[in-house]
């Protein structure tokens, strides 16, 4: 029964997975670009961010159609309304990765941040996004809650990055602009972590019907 509706829900799922994978990809690109000191690589982000924006519109219209046609209740209603909220966070993640890519493009030299806290921040944020989408797909409450708690790791890495950069300013006062750019990048990673937490919280709501505040 309702096989057509079930098919539509499963296409919605696939679209969300695809959008989540794109978000993961753009974060990975900027992180690698920073680590390798490869400014050219960051140029790949802009077209992917456009694709993320396009997917947001397309998933949104899918959800509105489902609401209109199927008048979903219970878990179906929670799933569709959570999807609507999650794509807003995913779209912001795409924008922030694009912001980072833009800063990388303006850096007055290749960063080469391999092994730094900034690189670890990028990796942690990307992992959180990947896991939040995975939690959605598998309706995995434990994984969703783990994403929420991983935000502390990103936050403490941000504090480390700040300390490292303050040290840099002291030893290389001429590099002020470059160092400030890196700080902004770190802030964007920190925001991406927050969006991954939002996604994970929507997963919890979609499964349980309850909001769990941090």
């Amino acid at each position: 029964m309702r096989s057509r509706f079930d098919e539509q829900l499963s296409s919605l799922n696939s679209a969300l997975i695809e959008m989540g994978a794109l978000c993961e990809e753009v974060i990975d690109i900027v992180t690698k670009s920073l680590a390798d000191g490869n400014r050219h690589l960051a140029k790949k982000v802009a077209p992917l961010d456009c694709e993320i924006d396009r997917m947001e519109r397309s998933i949104e219209s899918m959800c509105l159609k489902l609401l209109l046609h199927q008048q979903p209740v219970a878990r179906d209603l929670r799933m569709i309304s959570s999807a609507l909220k999650m794509i807003t966070d995913m779209e912001r993640i795409g924008d922030q990765a694009e912001d980072i890519a833009e800063i990388i493009g303006f850096l007055d030299r290749d960063a080469g941040m391999r092994g730094t806290s900034l690189q670890r921040m990028g990796e942690a944020a990307s992992g959180m996004v990947a896991q939040s989408v995975e939690a959605y797909v598998g309706k995995d409450l434990d994984l969703a809650r783990s994403v929420v708690s991983q935000d502390d790791i990103v936050d403490s890495l941000f504090i480390e990055v700040k300390k490292e950069l303050i040290g840099e300013v002291a030893s290389n006062p001429d590099e002020g602009e470059y160092i400030l750019d890196l700080l902004m990048i770190a802030k964007y990673f920190e925001r991406i972590g927050d969006h991954a937490v939002n996604i994970a919280q929507w997963v919890v709501f979609s499964v349980t019907g309850e909001h769990e505040e941090e």
């Binding site: 029964m1 008048q71 219970a74």
Partner: protein, 263 residues
Amino acid sequence: MNSINGEKMEDTYKSIIQVDDLSLWYGQNQALHNVCMDIGEGRITALIGPSGCGKSTFLKTLNRMNDLVQGVRIQGTVSFEGQDIYSPQTDVSELRRRIGMVFQKPNPFPMSIYDNVAYGPRTHGTKAKARLDEIVESSLRASAIWDEVKDRLKSNALGLSGGQQQRLCIARALAVRPKVLLMDEPTSALDPISTSRIEELALQLKNDYSIVIVTHNMQQAVRISDDTAFFLLGELVEFGDTERMFSQPTDKRTEDYITGRFG
């Protein structure tokens, strides 16, 4: 559902009908199994479930309409305002005056609009014309049909549209000043506009009456009811706050039914 400091609180309400361990048999066939339910005063309670699940049977036990069915046997208690309605002392006609019923198909009597509404009060002894006029007008007003019929009260009720006939039947039920209105799929034979009129009307009436409504239209249950009861195979599977039931049902069978994946 109220919310204080983010803590969810179930609505607390006074009940007007208490059903306790109610079972019902039609001959050998058990149609209701140990149903317990408190029906809230001044609230709309929706009864949902697939055809044959016992919801209409349950509705009819609330004002003893099942007494008219041959071979029916009932166990358990139904208390209305503290009195067991199945006790031998109950005056059944008085009970049905206080717990009125509106049926699926509008069934006006083949007489004038006025006489349809005045019928009940007349049978219960009201004779004075001025008093009857007053009851007819206030009942028709309360049923949101006064403006449409006030200039043709002497016309035959069968000339009204289906939706108007149903509102007339509600007026007829209200004319004897009931406390509770039982509605058995009151909009299933009506078009969308008449349906929304009846729904609006139900929402207005709950200020003065308690309403129990059987409906196959789940969106209708969501739109108008405060509480919902889900029946399956004569069993009350789940009963509670409508919003909660349609967002977080606790029983898998409820979830499967309301999301259309039943069976």
